[in-house]
Point group: D2
Chain length 355, copies 4
């Protein structure tokens, strides 16, 4: 049964307003986040099944989601009749089997990285999906490189792709974590942290990585026993571009993810909590600048989303969650005084009733 077949079925059950019914495999930190996201902030989906080897954790997560069941066996969860799509957030060593099972059934799957534990098995997934796509014209597997959806990365990519920086030549990255869990090894830093910069480099530059070098400078005193931290990783692309990555996972400070693309005609930097900072030629000399928010949708669109989500949540509970009628009244009273002040040119006192 393919996704194409599943979805109309779902549609049949509750027309075209039907939500996508999602199974989440693995409900640790990341998976539980996805459950909350799908249940409370995303439109058009609901979590019908969760699955985790730790069944008490699965029970706990399911209990907070109306209409959600626990199906302990992940393959059974994938095959569940109430599942239209799957999020794989289980430990990496289970990804291969679970993703292949999704492909087998034609079920869309969002798989957290890594896709599988090594390149050969990942290639096998690619080939399996290719076969499916050849038959149906549809792709099933999305990998969870979430940075591509970050507004700053998206803007940087758009700038590079539009030619706004000219040919990109260099990328400088910093990836800093305040701390990592016990058990993290230098190899796992490459596999689990640097992998994000690998994807970022491919995403921004649109070409593959040809060679890798890893340098180990003096380590911080905060590094766990045996951990080489920070690392400096050099990625060379097939087009001769160079990407350097500082990966420093025990800074003790904060989470900093900084990327600068240096091109023939300018450079741009994200990750300073200040949007995309671009350096480019200007009429009176080079300028380092950020975009000024062009309109109220860009400035307050997110605020409207939050406002309405919180109002919906509050209304379902039978209340409000924001400024009330009194605030509306007070604003009117002040504006009335303002209009009078405008007319008279004088300081005008506001007349308000007691609350």
């Amino acid at each position: 049964m393919t996704a194409a077949e599943v979805l109309p079925a779902a549609a049949a059950a509750g027309p075209d307003t039907a939500d996508l019914r999602v199974a989440v495999l693995g409900v640790g930190l990341m998976g539980a986040d996805h459950v909350a996201r799908l249940s409370r902030r995303v439109s058009g989906a609901r979590v019908t099944v969760v699955s985790d080897a730790a069944t008490d954790r699965a029970d706990q997560v399911a209990a907070e989601v109306p209409g959600c069941r626990v199906v302990p066996d992940p393959l059974a969860a994938i095959a569940d009749p109430e599942v239209d799509a799957v999020v794989v957030a289980s430990p990496g060593r289970f990804h291969e089997e679970q993703v292949l099972a999704c492909i087998e059934r034609g079920t869309p799957v969002l798989c957290e990285k890594p896709l599988t534990m090594d390149a050969d098995s990942s290639l096998a997934v690619v080939r399996a999906e290719d076969a499916h796509t050849a038959r149906t014209g549809r792709r099933l597997v999305q990998v969870g490189f979430m940075r591509r959806f970050d507004p700053e990365y998206a803007a940087l990519r758009e700038l590079v792709a539009s030619g706004g920086l000219g040919e990109p030549l260099l990328v400088h990255c910093a990836h800093r974590n305040p701390a990592v869990p016990a058990g993290v090894t230098t190899e796992s830093v490459v596999n689990d942290s640097v992998v994000h910069e690998v994807d970022v480099a491919r995403f921004l530059l649109g070409e593959e990585i040809a060679a890798v070098t890893v340098l180990r400078p003096r380590s911080t005193r905060r590094a766990a026993e045996g951990l080489s931290d920070p690392l400096v990783v050099l990625l060379e692309t097939t087009g001769g571009r160079l990407v350097d990555v500082e990966c420093f996972v025990s800074t003790g400070l904060a989470y900093e993810v900084r990327t600068e693309v240096v091109g023939e005609d300018g450079s741009a930097l994200i990750g300073l909590d200040a949007g995309l900072v671009r350096q480019q030629a200007g009429p009176g000399g080079a300028v380092r600048g950020t975009a000024v928010t062009p309109g109220f949708r860009e400035r307050f669109g997110r605020a409207y989303d939050v406002e309405v989500q919180r109002w919906v949540d509050a209304a379902r509970r039978g209340g409000i969650d924001g400024p009330g009628a009194w605030d509306g009244y007070a604003a009117q009273a002040v504006c009335a005084a303002g209009v009078e002040a405008l007319r008279t040119g004088r300081r005008t006192e506001v007349r308000m009733e007691e609350r």
Copy 2:
């Protein structure tokens, strides 16, 4: 019938997973935005009814939302059996009647500002809701001052409320629009633009406005005939604090909303597209600083939301919308080379199959 009664009914129809069924009154720019928001980005709600005097516009909006009907009469829309809650986005002169009708029925309502057209009628709404709340313990009316939900304003409010700036003494505001529609008058600038700063001042300072002065400096050549632009508005609070507002609605440039609170122990500024910039004492002298994103949830939480929303939308259409299996494979191939480079200390070439 109150909201309390409506919601269990809805629940009965599709248990506790039932969405809040919303009527949107007025589907101009703002209302249509709310329809899209409720339908595509907000969880737990769907738009079942839209209403607009311009019925063709209503038809057009409804056509894009599965399961949405047009009910031309707004009072009938409020009373519709498939409506649990109402968003009022109609022209301001209709707000009073529509909000009172919602209160009458006990239906939760999110009313875009202004609450009503003058202070007396707004007070009447306050009193009507008070009576309802006295009976049911529930509040029904929320007013659409969306800035309170903006992360920067929320952070600024939290900082002020926590005493982090000491007693606030002054607030400086700039409110700049690139342009305003034809027909905007200086009075409407006070009522429709400055009103946001009025609410911001009340929100940040937690007290009422006692007096208003409006100054009219030289106007820009871009100002429409008869429009005094910019204005400088001074608001004095009941506690003797002073708020100055530059309101400049024909800048020709961008949308800038800047607010600085100056307190006894420091100051904080938002609106430079750089988060909350705080000035405070430090061990080696005063520091102007911004928070560094503390963790990956703060940094990429929004990216995950976008990723999953877009994946859900794509999966419902039968595809993906983001990095695919090949990207997962490429990342694995590069990381494998990275681990080898780490072990050998040498530059290592990446081995990848042809695509």
Copy 3:
């Protein structure tokens, strides 16, 4: 005897390489600073005479300057044959007499603000100098509004004067001091602090101030008894432009002097320790930007000045004050390895002798 006559005399004594011989009247904080400046950082001048009612302070200052004498009577100091020019840094109440004495003798004078203690006496100085200028074609009196020489203010003025912001409409100023000496009154804050913004407004806008309003919001707990702090001052110019000034002299924090000019075509802000931040239209929307240093002179010109001043001072004492021959050797050894690394494409060890 005029300056024109004095200077050739000086020139006679040591040709056209002769330094300007300066008397500094008043050697409190500001005057002592000027003595140090003229003696150690300014080219072409030396302090030959100091004068102060506190003669021990004058003795102390003079002792540190080779060839400098104390002349207790300021009018005698002005008339001293070894004085070509005068810096007036005495208390304000003495300025009138001292500046008039300089004009009388045709001696150039740099007078710290205020020029005199009230407008009428200042006008008398203007008239006296006008008479001198009418006779000689030369102007004698410069007033110490030093902000005009600050690179940020100069850049802002240039931007406004060039029309880069279009017609200026509003100026927002903040003037914040960490603390003021005991005895400062609200009136003296207007006279001694706000006066800088008065000059800045005139300098930036090129027109006179027509009216003033002073608002007194709630005061900080740090304000001295009887001091109203902060103040908000509104200046209206003859051209209808409006300048608002926050003057807050007990912030407990730092010294902040911020000025924003809002014009018809953009705005520009200085005082965030980040140069001139300009907002203007760009091809892809409005941009908030700063100039990127165009060349090495702009970037390191000041460093060269400091380097050479410190080297001159050290050489006069018989030593050096900066990197030495070893640093030159080390750099050469590393560059040699760098060139080899470039040729071979390999990591190359640096060969250096022991120090």
Copy 4:
């Protein structure tokens, strides 16, 4: 004759107020800059001799400096009786001979980099000066690594040296020029541009460089024939710290010199035209901050220097160069109105005479 002997002689000629008499060897771009600096902005020195193989250039430069002669032979210039100290700004291949001649005579010398053309000859200079220092206790040779005198580099060095960042682990540098003269080769980029980062690394970290690697990514289309641009240079220090340098000399944009030190307890970045930006732990999480100017000397000290230098120059010419008596009068008139406004609480018109 040593410097110690020279200087008293000078002193004899014009007591202890005597200026240091400097010969500048080489008056190309850099040397002519030094002549202007010594003549017009530096206190306590004057240029008595210039020397250049291009004698017309030397004549031209000397003509603008009162009391300055041309001495074509640089060794004769060094030996000139009116020379107390020497600035070497000639082409690099002449440095060795000229600096050794200065050491021979005991004359203080400021030598632009490179000290000499290779490491062995630089070591010979070190040894020659060491012998002189052993005899006299004095050092003679300073090398022109001017970045050490830049306020941002000085602040960064102070921060590192004070332990404020903990142990430094990594340094990231970018060195970008808009363009380079014809004839610049990749090797000369290493020798003339990267050499600054070599000195910066040594200055900031206080240890020697142990190894160098140079990477050549894809070049910009703007790079001259045969020039590999940009380069990425990796410097490893004796303490295992790693410095990476982007050296990009044909950006077409501006002059950017950026340096970030990453330490165990925080990081700090200079070169964004925004002072030193520091990231460090704070009570409420990590903060990215800059110092707020602490006082008026830090904020306007430079403005005072410029004001007084320009006033001195103007007074020597017989005029003023800044705000005049009228500006002093206008300020007084406005402040008088301000004080009245303060007293009355009312808008007060300014009374001024016609100009």
